[in-house]
């Protein structure tokens, strides 16, 4: 779907921002471009929609070189979301969201339906926000509208440059969750820039980790966390990488892999849902909120008891027994 072929970018004839990068992104995949600030993530992203020229190498989108595509037409088929939302302050929310469909000449009815659909998708009431202006919205709402605008003409590909980077942590977590939910529904091919390993692990089907413009490792979050390709990767993901990997799993994954301790109806036990992240489970167990947790399935039936020992066993199994996956 999206192929980076030996891509390099040199600014002003001397500053090498992207250095011979090779990797492919499959359809429907969300790939996080990760790395410290200044490592060339934004530059790489902007070469895809040709906001920056490619110095050397090429990028293919659907087997066609982006260099040879008509820039304007191509950009209208690629969603683009930036950190500072970039909404047009002089336009209403509806005009903002519908700008690309409008340029593409969609009729009024089709635009209206699409606007309503998108606003529902991002969790804002269409009629309430239609005639409002960007500055009347909170930061989180503006960012949601930015996402809706990028999705407006239903582009197969989305480029997102630290889309939630400017939001405060609580809103950020919330929007990340919402967006993952949306992605489940829309299945876009997404390049998502981040400098935050936690965000990358949470959002990415795959992570491409960069340093000084060079690709260090490109693989599933699990592989990055458990089998760092080199010193830099291992340092970047941090010494708590095993803990970080726990957010990759839900209670259900654990239940499917190791058997729970039996449950006796004695005293009161805290319950967790099957879709809870393992990270939260560990936090609860360590927090002395409870020594054990009862796992509840979607129907409210208790399936068994979960303890720290079991979590440890599960993680050990994952790390040692999961076959090596490649990007």
């Amino acid at each position: 779907m999206l192929e980076f072929k030996n891509v390099s970018k040199i600014y002003n004839g001397n500053k090498k921002a992207v250095d011979h990068v090779n990797f492919n992104v499959d359809e429907g995949e969300l790939v996080v471009l990760l790395g410290p600030s200044g490592c060339g993530k934004t530059t790489l992203l902007r070469m895809v929609n040709q906001l920056e020229s490619i110095t050397e190498g090429d990028i293919h989108l659907n087997n066609k070189s982006v260099k040879e595509s008509n820039k304007i037409e191509m950009r209208r088929k690629i969603g683009y979301v930036i950190q500072s939302n970039g909404l047009f302050p002089n336009m209403t929310i509806e005009k903002n969201v519908m700008i690309v469909p409008d340029l593409l000449g969609w009729d009024r009815k089709k635009q209206l339906d699409r606007f309503n659909y998108l606003m529902e998708l991002i969790g804002l009431h269409p009629d309430e926000y239609r005639k409002r202006y960007p500055h009347e919205l909170s930061g989180g709402q503006q960012q949601r509208v930015g996402v809706a605008r990028a999705l407006a003409a239903d582009p197969p590909v989305m480029l997102m440059d630290e889309p939630f980077g400017a939001l405060d942590p609580i809103i950020r977590t919330k929007i990340q969750d919402e967006f993952l939910q949306i992605q489940k529904e829309i299945k876009k091919t997404i390049l998502f820039v981040s400098h935050d390993i936690d965000e990358a692990v949470k959002m990415g089907d795959k992570i491409a980790l960069f340093r000084d413009g060079q690709l260090q490792q490109y693989n599933h979050p699990f592989e990055i966390l458990h089998r760092p390709a080199n010193e830099f990767v291992s340092e970047f993901v941090g010494q708590d990488r095993v803990l970080k990997s726990t957010s990759l799993y839900s209670v259900k994954d654990l239940v499917d892999s190791v058997s729970l301790t039996g449950y006796q109806k004695a005293g009161s036990v805290q319950t967790v849902q099957e879709d809870t992240s393992l990270r939260i489970v560990i936090s609860k167990l360590l927090n002395q909120e409870a020594e054990q947790l009862a796992v509840e399935d979607t129907k409210g039936k208790i399936k068994g008891i979960l303890t720290l020992d079991l979590v440890e066993k599960f993680l050990y199994k994952q790390i040692k027994e999961t076959p090596k996956r490649t990007g």
């Binding site: 906001l51 304007i72 209208r76 683009y80 302050p89 202006y133």
Partner: protein, 244 residues
Amino acid sequence: MKTKKRIAWIVKILFWLIVITFFTWTIMNDMFRPIVEDFGEFTHLLGQHIIIVFISGLLAILISIPLGILVTRKSFQKSEFWIVNMANLGQTIPSLAVLALAMGFLGIGMKAAIVALFIYSLLPILQNTIAGIRSVDKNTIDAARGIGLTPFQILIKIELPNAASSIIAGIRTALVINIGTAALAYLIGGGGLGAWIFTGIRLFDNAFLISGAVPVTLLAILVDYFFKIMQQVLVPKGLRLAKK
């Protein structure tokens, strides 16, 4: 806050008291006699005054705004320095000297006055156009490019609406200055209400002086007010709200 409001009120009341006193005095002393006695001549001079201001202002708008747009295009960035400085030069030379220079080239008459005032009005509009376009958030432009707007669409849909307030403010400033300066047109034979003002000065006749100066002042206030309303009409609602 309260004291500020109170002071504003006192200033306002004082201002209107002075205005009322002034007009009572002028009317009691029959200061508008020239207007009443020679109404034909008055409308003639007023018409000349308006034509000078209108044509020179319109020309300045028609030249300055496209020039400002041109200068802010990426490929023309280097020309900005020269263009702004040339307009600057027109502005820093005293208005009387610009008039004299224009007269040197075009001889006496209304044409020279119009050209001089045109040169004099260029800068405020040009500067405000450039500043207005420059003030548009870089990220907004970047987003617009990224989602596939053409440079022309970015100009029409994003840059100009966002710069509208600043551009109109520039026109407002230019025209108000222009109306006052147009009184000097008389000195190079350009006509206008300056005729009565300078006659009044020469003959120590306050009636002529006031019959010339008061309409000029009122005209300036009227035009200023008109553009204040234009600002409300032409500046997109989202931006007006954002300012508050």
